[in-house]
């Protein structure tokens, strides 16, 4: 690789090919997103206790992952882009969890 002139980075592991997603795939994704929306509305009317928000968030995450993978072509992208997307959500989780360490533990010792 050192001697080889590789301007397009094709032998670079960070590279991936340009993949064209077909309308059929898009249509399947579209329908599944609509179904997901319907399920989440229906689930909201069923009493699941503390699982209501869990279910709602699980569906929302699934939908988001589908959009990211197919509409946003991440499934067909290089490892670099996948890593980038992962890094974004990782940092978001750092923000949430590390801040929560404060809020959750503030009342420790007061509540039993």
């Amino acid at each position: 690789m050192t001697e080889y002139h590789d301007p397009s980075n094709v032998v670079n592991p960070e590279h991936s090919d340009h993949h064209i997603v077909t309308p059929v795939t898009y249509a399947i994704v579209f329908v599944s997103l609509l179904v997901g929306t319907a399920i989440t509305v229906v689930a909201a009317y069923i009493d699941l206790g503390i699982f209501n928000p869990v279910v709602a968030l699980a569906i929302a995450c699934t939908k988001a992952v589908i959009v990211i993978l197919f509409f946003m072509h991440v499934k067909y992208q290089s490892k670099l882009v996948k890593l980038t997307v992962g890094a974004g959500f990782f940092t978001f989780l750092v923000l949430i969890t590390m801040t929560l360490t404060d809020y959750v533990s503030r009342a420790w010792g007061l509540w039993s």
Partner: protein, 253 residues
């Protein structure tokens, strides 16, 4: 152009279309990239990094929501129930459709179908505008009910719901005040989202105009692709906002 002298690499592309544009010196190819391929990948990667900043931007708001929802759950439940699920669900469907047409638009650009591309972009725009229209109706209702945080915010509907014909549990006055926090977060989050939509729609007009001139039907699709990423990201934000804001504890108490 320097890419004319580039040694062709042994790699072959799966689709003829992609392989074809590989060897064409595009007018949009900028001098400091060695190949259009490199330029395209740099563009996509750059766009993703920008979306990363957007994740963190909304991330702050999402955390504020998470915190206050836990602290003031009854207020959040009561205030959330004032939002209209039919409108919210309709808006979700509309936004998904808009995203679907955007995705089709990217496809149309990649297979170089100018007519289809323009049609899809127009449809994307129309659905985007429809979303904002419904959002306006919802905002207007909040305005009339004095549910906009600030000096004129009115909590009487939550303290005494039966007088307003609502089947809610009445909230204690101190808790009712906290509905203002919910509505602020509602307006901040959906407002920030709507702002992104408006920016997107302005860009869509510009892109449609350029697409109509045939700029994106000769193998140069980066602007359409990257705008698509932005538009889908805005969709994703809404996919979370809808359940979080509209669907807190909807089941009959």
């Amino acid at each position: 152009m320097d890419n004319a002298t580039v040694v062709t690499h042994p790699h072959t592309h799966e689709t003829a279309v992609a392989a074809e544009h590989e060897h064409v010196a595009l007018p949009q190819h900028r001098h400091h990239f060695e190949t259009p391929e490199q330029q395209r990948e740099a563009g996509t990667f750059g766009m993703w990094l920008f979306l990363l900043t957007e994740i963190m931007f909304f991330g702050g708001l999402f955390f504020a929501y998470l915190l206050y929802r836990n602290w003031y759950n009854p207020a959040f439940v009561a205030a959330s129930n004032q939002l209209s699920i039919p409108l919210g669900a309709a808006n979700t469907a509309i936004l998904i459709s808009s995203g679907f047409f955007m995705a089709l638009g990217v496809w149309a650009a990649e297979v170089r179908k100018k007519g289809l591309l323009v049609i899809f972009l127009v449809l994307t725009t129309l659905f985007g505008v429809a979303f904002l229209g419904i959002k306006y109706v919802e905002y207007h209702e909040k305005w009339e009910k004095h549910h906009i945080p600030g000096a004129s915010f009115d909590v009487s509907e939550f303290v005494n719901p039966h007088a307003y014909g609502l089947k809610e549990q009445p909230l204690a006055p101190d808790m009712a005040q906290k509905t203002q926090v919910f509505f602020f977060l509602y307006f901040a989050m959906t407002g920030m989202h709507a702002l992104h939509m408006i920016i997107g729609i302005v860009l869509l007009f510009w892109l449609t105009w350029r697409a109509n001139r045939g700029e994106f039907s000769a193998g140069y699709v980066a602007p359409i692709e990257n705008f698509g990423l932005y538009w889908h990201f805005v969709d994703i934000v809404w996919l979370f906002l809808f359940p979080l804001l509209y669907l807190i504890n909807r089941h009959p108490v």
